[in-house]
Amino acid sequence: MRVRSEILAGGAALVLAPLFLSNFSDYLLAWAIVSAIAFLGLTVVTGLGGQISLCQASFIGFGAFFTGLLLRHGWSFWLAWPTAALLAVPIGILVGLPAMRLRGVHLGVATLGFAVFFNEVVFRWSWLTGGSEAGVNFERPSLFGFDLHSNTRYYFLALVVFAVAAGLTVRLQRSVLGRSLRAMRDAERGAMATGLSIERAKLLAFSLSAVYGAVAGGLLGPLLGTVVRRSFDPIASVVMLALVGVAGLASVPGAVIAGLLLNYLPGQLGTVAGIKNVDLIIPAVMLIILMQFAPDGLAALPRHLAQWAGRTGRLAPGRPEEALP
C-alpha cells in the first residue's frame, strides 16, 4: 500500500505542477512527458524483456515524420497520429524478428544498426521528411473545438496519453505475457522449457515499444513545432537507454524520471559550473556506477536502501526485479 500512495503522490504532482511553473517550464515538462511515453517502450522491451534496444529514438522519428506526412496530405491530426502509431507495429515486428532465434545479446547491435539505417536512409527520403535538414513543421491541433495551442493544455494532452500508456504497461507487467517476458529475461531456456511462447512475447514487446515510440513522436511534432532528422540519430537512442537505465529500467516511475532527465532538467539547468553536456555526463557516470550494485536504477533505490538498512551489512543480491506500483 505504501508504494501505491507514492504513485498517487507522483501522479498528483504531475497534474498540479503547471499551477506552480512558468510557461517555459510547462513546455519542458510536456516534452519530458512525451519522452516518458517513448521510455515506456524501453520499460517493456529492456526492463521487462531483457532485450537491449538501441533504436527507440528512431521509432519516435518515424512517428513524428509519418504523422507530418499524413498532415501534409490534408489528414486531421486525430487521424494521422493514430495511423502512424499503428504503422509502427510492423516495424517493431521487423526489428524484433531476430529475437525469435534465442540470440538476444546480438539483437542489441541489430537495433543499433536499425537506428543507423533509419537515420541515414529512411529519414533522408524526401517524400517522408522533406529531404532537407531544415525539418518538418507542425501546428498544434485542437480537439472538438478545444484549442490545444497553449503549452499547459498541450501538457495535459501528453499527460493523459502517458497515463493511458502507463496503465497499459502496468497491466502488461501483471499479465501472463508480462510474466513470460520476465521469465524469459531471467532464464530464457528455462522459460521455454515450461512451454511459454517466447517468440510471441518478444515480438509483442518490440511492436509495443515501437508503438509507444511512434505515439510519442506524433505528439512531439506539434509540441516542438519543427522536427529535424538529427534529433533521432543513433546516439539519441543510446542516450535514451542510458537514461532509462539510470532512472529505472523496469518501472513506470523510471520512465517519468528518464523523461525529466532527458528534456526537463537540461533546459532548466543550462550549463552547470561551466561544464558542457553535464546533462549527459552525470547520467552516464551514474549509470555505470548504479549497474555495479543496483541494476534496477534510481526508481528502485529507496527499496535497495530499505533492504540495506534492514539487513546487517551487504546489499541483497541484485537481481533486477520490478518495482511494481
Binding site: 529492456t46 531483457g50 537491449i52 538501441l54 524478428l97 531476430p98 532465434r101 534465442l102 540470440r103 545479446v105 546480438h106 539483437l107 542489441g108 547491435v109 541489430a110 543499433l112 544498426g113 536499425f114 543507423v116 539505417f117 541515414e120 536512409v121 533522408r124 529475461r185 540519430d233 543513433p234 546516439i235 543510446v238 542516450v239 537507454l241 542510458a242 537505465g245 529500467l249 561544464i275 558542457k276 553536456n277 549527459l280 555526463i281 547520467p283 552516464a284 557516470v285 549509470l287 555505470i288 549497474m291 555495479q292 550494485f293 541494476p295 541484485g318 537481481r319 533486477p320
Partner: protein, 290 residues
C-alpha cells in the same frame, strides 16, 4: 565491369579496417560473453589522443605506442572497475555498462576537444604502386591491409604459442574449468580487454584519415565491426577476417552499383546483421557455412 575491380580493392581496404574493429569484439565476446558497445568509442578515444593530443607534438614512433597504450589501459580500466562487478549482477547489467561508456566517452571527447569533426593528415603516402588496366592500388591501401594481416597473425600466434594465449583459449572454452586448473580468470579477462583496446585503437587511428576524425562516426563503427564479427560467427580471429571482407567488399559493391539509392552502403551492415541473425543458427556465420 570497369568499376568492379576497383570497388573490390576499396572493399578489401574497408574490410581490413572493419576486421581490426571486429577482432577486439570477438576477443571480448569469447572471453567474457559480453557484447562491448563501447568498443568503437574506445578506438575513438585512441584516435583523438593520437591525432589531437600526441602526434602534433612528437614523432609518430612515440605517439603511436603511447596512444595504443592509452586505449589498452582504457579497456583494462573499463573491465576491471566497471564490468567485472556489474557482470556478477547480470550479463544485462554489464552490457548496459558498456552502453554507459558509449554515451560518456564521445561527450567527454567533445567537451575536451571542443567538438566537431576534424580533417586529419594522411598517415601514409598515397603513392600509386600498382596500375594495371582499371586497377589502381595506392601505398596507404596496401599498408592498411598489411597492418590488419600482421596484427591478426600476431594475435593468432599469441593465442597459439604463449602461456597467456593458452589460458585465454582455456577461459574461452570453459571459465569454470580454467579456474579449477589454476588459471587466474580475472587476469585473463583484463588482458583480453587490453588486447581489444589495442585493436580498437589501431582501427580508430587507421580509419580516421579515410573518414575524418569524428567522435560519433568512430563510436558507431561498432555496428559494421559487429556485422563482420557476426558474419565470422563470433568464433575466431580468422573467421572474423573473412566476415570483415564480406562486409567491406559487399558494402563497396553496393555503393558502386546501387549509387542511386542513398545510404545503401551505410545500411548494408545492419541488413547483414538482420539476415545473419534470422537465417543462421546460433554461433555460426558465413565463414562456417562456406
Amino acid at each position: 565491369m570497369d568499376i568492379f575491380v576497383p570497388l573490390v580493392v576499396s572493399g578489401i581496404v574497408t574490410g581490413s579496417l572493419y576486421f581490426l574493429v571486429a577482432a577486439g569484439l570477438v576477443v571480448v565476446y569469447r572471453l567474457s560473453r559480453i557484447l562491448n558497445f563501447a568498443h568503437g568509442s574506445v578506438g575513438m578515444v585512441a584516435a583523438y589522443v593520437f591525432f589531437v593530443g600526441l602526434w602534433p607534438h612528437m614523432p609518430m614512433g612515440l605517439a603511436l605506442p603511447l596512444a595504443l597504450a592509452a586505449s589498452a589501459a582504457l579497456g583494462v580500466f573499463i573491465e576491471r572497475f566497471t564490468i567485472r562487478r556489474a557482470n556478477r549482477q547480470s550479463a544485462l547489467a554489464a552490457i548496459i555498462v558498456t552502453v554507459g561508456w558509449m554515451t560518456l566517452l564521445p561527450v567527454l571527447v567533445s567537451n575536451i576537444t571542443e567538438g566537431g569533426t576534424r580533417v586529419v593528415p594522411q598517415l601514409f603516402p598515397k603513392t600509386q604502386i600498382i596500375e594495371w588496366g582499371s586497377l589502381f592500388v595506392t601505398a596507404d591501401q596496401l599498408i592498411v591491409l598489411a597492418i590488419a594481416i600482421t596484427l591478426g597473425v600476431g594475435f593468432w600466434a599469441l593465442l597459439r604459442y604463449t602461456t597467456i594465449g593458452l589460458q585465454m583459449r582455456a577461459v574461452a572454452t570453459s571459465p569454470e574449468g580454467a579456474a579449477l586448473l589454476g588459471v587466474n580468470v580475472n587476469f585473463v579477462a583484463a588482458v583480453s580487454w587490453g588486447v581489444a583496446g589495442v585493436f580498437a585503437g589501431v582501427a580508430g587511428i587507421l580509419i580516421s584519415p579515410f573518414i575524418n576524425l569524428s567522435n560519433v562516426t568512430l563510436t558507431l563503427l561498432v555496428v559494421p565491426g559487429y556485422a563482420a564479427a557476426l558474419a565470422g560467427g563470433l568464433q575466431s580471429i580468422g573467421a572474423a577476417f573473412v566476415g570483415a571482407m564480406v562486409v567491406g567488399i559487399g558494402g563497396a559493391l553496393l555503393r558502386g552499383y546501387g549509387s542511386d539509392i542513398t545510404g545503401l552502403q551505410e545500411a548494408f551492415p545492419f541488413l547483414l546483421i538482420m539476415l545473419l541473425l534470422i537465417v543462421t543458427r546460433e554461433e555460426t556465420g558465413v565463414a562456417r557455412t562456406v
